[in-house]
Symmetry: C2
Subunit: 437 residues, 2 copies
């Protein structure tokens, strides 16, 4: 019998603030970081990897939260744990003392997500399958066992979820084959950071066209005149057919959001993302009504399935942006996908950061195979950045994610990257703030 | 010039799970705990104290989050900091990297609350006043400077808040004098923990009557038959005139909440508290509509002012229960009090735990003096437990909180308590799990 023996933790940070990669109206100077956990077992070579993505300071706090979960997991029988990941989820989320620190939100909830996701990496490796294929091979009842319907039943009962999954059985094998062959649409945010010069913006937009992307995303919300100038520039480079989404990263109140979006609407926006607080269901719904037909997108900072449920109930979203590391892992995102399917809202996952593309692609592939069963208007965010640190990096070609084939959840980083970017002692940091990364 | 020199942190835990004090349907076995921070200065004897209340495991994670804030505060000029606590709040909440860990919720947000509250303790001591008197002495414009209206302006503008505060100037001196003389109404939850026997329940209810309380609160939600039996018992002890509130601590979905509350409504409930997820604005509003005229109360786990705003906008609350340690400190609770005043909803603060009575009483006193200016239907929760660990403990007599008189925020614990209950090394713990506390 193999047992889970404990966690190895790594504080990994990349000095992205030196180049303003990732800069937007709210996050002005991020150092992309991963609170990285390896779930160890007593079987040599058998381990799972995952992380919480953060943007620098506080990555150590996130690690402390992951460490607090170790006593709940260390010593468990590995196979029994992997055979009941719904049970593991409920034990971690439901721990009566740790629950007080959320409940189900923020640092403690994201820590649970990392531990759960590392166990999914173990499960997929045990099965010899990429995570999305493992998930797509589950029966409807096996998927239901993974989902906690607490606080969801006024919008989605287990039996309604079962109906969605049973319907998804039809044609699943064909969709899996199609995903394997054609992948899944991507859009790129690489050009759009606020800290980039106009010259750099133009060069990156031209590259996006060459690379075959059908949609790009630009950051907005710091200065309206700048936004208008950058959107004019983008439209002139991209022509009328490539879609442009914009992302305000929560900087507005409801009133200013409406005025600002209306001032940009002539650029034929694919969506306005995060116009206000991610907690503000009612304001997001009011903004959506006021800026229609501009679609509204949100989700990367939505704390849990309960807030997603309300965003859908209130008619606040055209596009639901799940994030692999914000909620409590794969299980909670299964709930989110089922909610989106129930309400007929398209899912376009948030990605970028460190390893968000790697982790979330499996959920989008699974969604197409077994839940929504449609690719209409759906695409996964892509930022071509930091993928070289992953053992099985996400790959995009011709504007599409290629199907992951390696067993696991794609969440394992190279040991050399963990060492080089260890904070604060790794060589990327210890050489001083101006050293090349 | 005096500078803030840094933080001293203490992991303080009380082995309350041994006696099931604090046990309810969700929190079955809490060890009441404080992630305690002393904000030190380079002036001998000048320091501020505050804490995040937790229920045991994870108190160390909470301390790690407070520690992450130290670099943002250490080295600041003390007087300049205390003269602009609105500015301090905005810098801590707005830190572009730490913000990712919430935003504005959970472990990181509560940590900011502790640091902000410790600075309020310093400010009140500098003024030689109890915190509520310091706050009541501020002009409307000084109060407005302390409040961040971001994400609130669709419900409450700064100018509307100013109108509320200007109206509160009239008669303020008389209300302050009345508070000094008569205190503020309390209700008691001491009898109502789920883990207590019926005999103990009866004895504590009889004590509550003797002590002059006009309302008690009982925990419910684990077993309906038990709840009916305990409420029958309570009504028989208390008679028809003493109000009985019940508290479900988030255990229900919307449908079961309605059914359960209707089954208990014949006991003439003062309110049903936390019927469902604290994030679920829409479900709470639906429950309130369905169980009327039973009033609905919530707030102890409401993560921030944005969620409170929506609860009020949606008509979800009859009673708003602010908590001193859940949000980002005094400043955010000023926003919460102003929101409640705007919507005409009564505030009955959540207390109990470790030091929640001590901390929150100042906010209720201030609310009566300067914001709502009414005591109609309002009272502060009281649990007669763990007050002996505080230098200036909250005092209740004849069913009323007595006005705090000592300079400060009442949030300083005895050094001997910090030592005795230090986790895991203090004598209350190191003697083993069955040692007397």
């Amino acid at each position: 019998m193999t047992r889970i023996s404990g966690f190895d933790l790594h504080d990994v940070r990349f000095p992205t603030s030196r180049t303003l990669d990732g800069s937007d109206a709210m996050n002005t100077s991020p150092d992309y970081a991963a609170a990285y956990v390896t779930v160890r077992t007593d079987a040599p070579g058998t381990q799972g990897h995952a992380y919480v993505f953060t943007i620098g300071r506080g990555n150590d706090v996130q690690l402390a939260a992951i460490r607090a979960l170790e006593p709940l997991v260390a010593g468990l029988d590995l196979d029994a744990t992997l055979d009941d990941l719904g049970g593991l989820w409920r034990r971690l989320v439901g721990d009566s003392q740790l629950r007080w620190l959320g409940p189900e939100k923020g640092v403690m909830h994201m820590a649970i997500g990392a531990v759960v996701n590392a166990c999914w990496d173990l499960a997929a490796k045990r099965a010899g399958l990429p995570l999305w294929r493992l998930l797509a091979g589950l029966s409807p009842d096996e998927v239901l066992e993974l989902v906690d319907f607490r606080y969801l039943t006024d919008a989605l009962s287990a039996s309604e979820a079962r109906d969605i999954l049973v319907a998804g059985e039809r044609g699943k094998a064909e969709r899996v084959a199609e995903l394997d062959e054609r992948g899944y649409a991507a859009y790129t945010t690489s050009p759009g950071w606020l800290g980039y010069s106009d010259d750099r913006l133009v060069a990156l937009l031209e590259a996006a066209v060459r690379d075959g992307f059908a949609q790009v995303k630009l950051k907005v919300g710091a200065d309206l005149d700048d936004d208008v100038r950058r959107l004019e520039l983008a439209r002139s480079v991209l022509g009328p057919d490539i879609r442009i989404a914009v992302d305000a990263n929560q900087v507005w109140d409801a009133g200013p959001a409406v005025a600002w979006v209306r001032a940009l609407a002539r650029f034929d926006l694919a969506w306005i993302e995060e116009p206000t607080s991610p907690d503000d269901v009612l304001a997001t719904a009011a903004i959506r009504r006021a800026v229609a037909p501009v679609p509204v997108a949100a989700g990367e900072h939505v704390a849990n399935r309960v807030v997603f449920k309300q965003l859908l109930q209130a008619g606040a979203l055209d596009v639901m942006q799940i994030d692999a590391c914000r909620v409590a892992g794969v299980n909670e995102n299964l709930a989110n996908l089922l909610l989106a399917a129930k309400f007929g809202v398209r899912v376009c996952p948030h990605a970028g950061g460190v390893g968000l593309c790697e982790a979330v692609q499996h959920l989008a592939f699974f969604d197409y195979a077994a839940v929504s069963c449609t690719a209409e208007g759906r695409m996964i965010e892509w930022i071509d950045h930091l993928h070289e640190h992953f053992v099985s990096p996400a790959r995009v070609a011709g504007g599409r994610y290629l199907a992951p084939h390696a067993p696991g959840a794609s969440t394992e980083m190279h040991a050399s990257s963990l060492a080089r970017y260890a904070f604060p002692g790794g060589p990327a940091w210890s050489a001083g703030p101006d050293a090349p990364a």
